[in-house]
Symmetry: C2
């Protein structure tokens, strides 16, 4: 179902020949309305790919007729020519839809620093436009994969009853997290509920802040990350805004979880749950520092409940805490109490794929959870061999 679960959307995923072989590498998602309100969030990296620079301008208008996405090349660090390539792609989509390029977003993912094969890409856009269909969501989700081993899709129903019901659907790609430098995260979320661009913007920022923004598999931030939210209004339903935000957050969380499980080379999904923080910012800061400790990630890979590496990472932050009041549990066993040895570490069962590290800062009532993965030889292998 993916992005075509909501009414008013058609999609396609085709093989344009950007990637070697016959794999799908180009996706098109079109909003047939009646509305076309939209919002987007983009990478915070200051080195932004051409499609990000383009799509940020487009989304400033708060409207989107279509988004075209390609895998097989990030079109990042490609200079003015790369930007022209993105522009030409949007113009091609616009011409085929007899619409304005100013309402066509572009997303790219793949290697940095190489121009896209524009002849193949533009021909692929024609093929995709011809194949646009109400059931094209799965093919589109397949076409945006790079090192992703599976397609990531999600959908949720909102609204009280038959008449007031609406859908939220989504697709994503990313074999790392919000921000791996190559395995960029792209995500398109659609809804047939009726909302304004401003409403979508608020909802999207809130939803991504507690989902994609709290995934941190390798601390690397992409040049291409893009999350788009498009509304067709085709259900004719004006949703309750709180409920709608909850549905979009659920779709984002579901997709984020799929990204985490499929992260490059990962064998463990690690939830870092920070409690007792003086503020939510502190909790996120601590969670992120722990998620980025390569030593801890190696230990978890080795099924070693190494709380010392947790404390060492917490100690690098400026969050509010006293070292001798820190408590750490791994999979429910409080193996560090008061900054020193706690319960018996042999009681910790490290065998499940899911590992939860709970860090109690003993400094207040706030909490946050950051998700990461372990660091494995497979990650090193995959990222040593990527472009050569």
């Amino acid at each position: 179902m993916s992005v075509t679960a909501p009414l008013g959307f058609r999609a396609a995923g085709v093989s344009a020949g950007i990637k070697p072989g016959r794999a799908r590498d180009l996706a098109l998602v079109v909003n047939d309305g009646p509305n076309r309100a939209a919002a987007g969030v983009f990478t915070a990296n200051r080195v932004k790919a051409a499609p990000v620079l383009w799509s940020q301008q487009v989304l400033a208008g708060g409207r989107l007729r279509a988004v075209v996405l390609n895998s097989g090349g990030a079109n990042a660090c490609t200079g003015p020519e790369g930007f022209q390539d993105t522009h030409a792609t949007a113009e091609k989509v616009a011409a085929l839809l007899e619409d304005s390029a100013g309402e066509v977003a572009v997303c790219s993912t793949g290697l940095i620093g190489e121009r896209l094969p524009m002849d193949e890409l533009l021909a692929g856009v024609e093929t995709a436009a011809a194949q646009l269909a109400r059931d094209g969501g799965l093919a589109a989700a397949d076409a945006i994969r790079t090192t992703d081993t599976v397609s990531k899709i999600s959908f949720k129903r909102g609204g009280a009853d038959e008449d007031g019901a609406y859908m939220v659907g989504g697709m994503a790609k990313g074999a790392g997290m919000l921000a791996p430098a190559l395995a960029t995260m792209l995500c398109v979320i659609t809804t047939d509920a009726e909302l304004t661009g401003d409403e979508l913007d608020v909802v999207l920022r809130s939803a991504t802040a507690v989902t994609f923004d709290r995934l941190d598999t390798d601390g690397c931030m992409s040049t291409n990350d893009t999350v788009l939210l498009m509304s067709s209004g085709a259900s004719g339903v004006r949703p309750d805004l709180d409920e709608f935000e909850q549905k979009v957050t659920e779709v984002c969380a579901d997709l984020a979880r799929q990204l985490l499980v499929d992260a490059e080379g990962a064998s463990k999904a690690i939830a870092i749950e920070v409690v007792g923080a003086a503020g939510e910012d502190d909790a996120v800061k601590v969670g992120r520092a722990v998620a980025r400790s390569t030593l801890l990630k190696c230990a978890i890979h080795g099924e070693d409940p190494n709380w010392g590496r947790v404390l060492a990472a917490v100690g690098t932050t400026d969050a509010e805490f006293e070292p001798d009041r820190l408590n750490v549990a791994i999979n429910g066993i409080w193996i560090c109490r008061g900054g020193a040895v706690g319960d018996d570490r042999d009681k910790v069962d490290m065998s499940p794929r899911d590992v939860t590290i709970t860090i109690d800062l003993s400094a207040g009532p706030h909490t946050a959870t950051v998700h990461t993965t372990d660091l494995t030889a497979a990650y090193v292998h995959e990222n040593s061999a990527y472009s050569s």
Copy 2:
């Protein structure tokens, strides 16, 4: 030669039984004067091991009679009992030297979260005190190793002629860098030149700022890092302060280089040379961000001159630069010019162990170099298996 290269110092390195087997694990370095001015720099981690908390207090006095160091246990996150253990160790050294514990520093390295075996340790201190010798520097350097495959020592001669000559000697351990959470860096530097504690403090801070502080092998910061500088004044030479600072910096740089080459699992030594920065801070910030990109470190391991991952890391900083004015050379070939593709990447020879990545921010005259290593399956293996 190591720490006993300068006059006025004796040292010993013995097996106390803290580590399994018969490996040396306890070192003692004693300053016989006539002076005992000293300075220290310590980890910035807020979770500090007991010996760091103790030695910081001791060094506040600017004087040091001796330093006792153990491998086999970090004595970090061990609560008030751990601090008492450190205190007892200093008292033992003081009693044997008939001196004050308030001028005895303590350093520990090894696993976090476990108490030290104090009976063995205190007996080892006695053995070490009995073995103190003018040629004990090598044994001391050997005794502080953990996962270090070799001892790290260095010495330089300063002063103009025979009469005005003085020595600077040093030893270090650390299988990562200033700050791997377990493979803590410890370093003791000695000199027979005559200086005050304040002078030593200024020199040590300047020297470490451009050497150990610019090593970043895995971004992890230890709970135990300690660098000490001790002056005996036994040469009777008042050195030229600028020259002395240069000599201490050379010893630190030499030891830092040895740490880098011996870093856990590393197969490449990577120098990240940032030029054209608006300020030295910007240059260091950019160098550190690039040094911490696990994706880039994997690429270098795979001998892939992946400048896209360099730019993606630069883009995460708030340093002054324009993305389309960034230039990147790897081993002398400018493969990225103006933020886009530059010279032919096939010209880059990635086969040497030493890899230099030059990043031109085109924003000013300042430069800095940060040193790191590649990320390898061997690193993952070593750090997955460390404590289990």
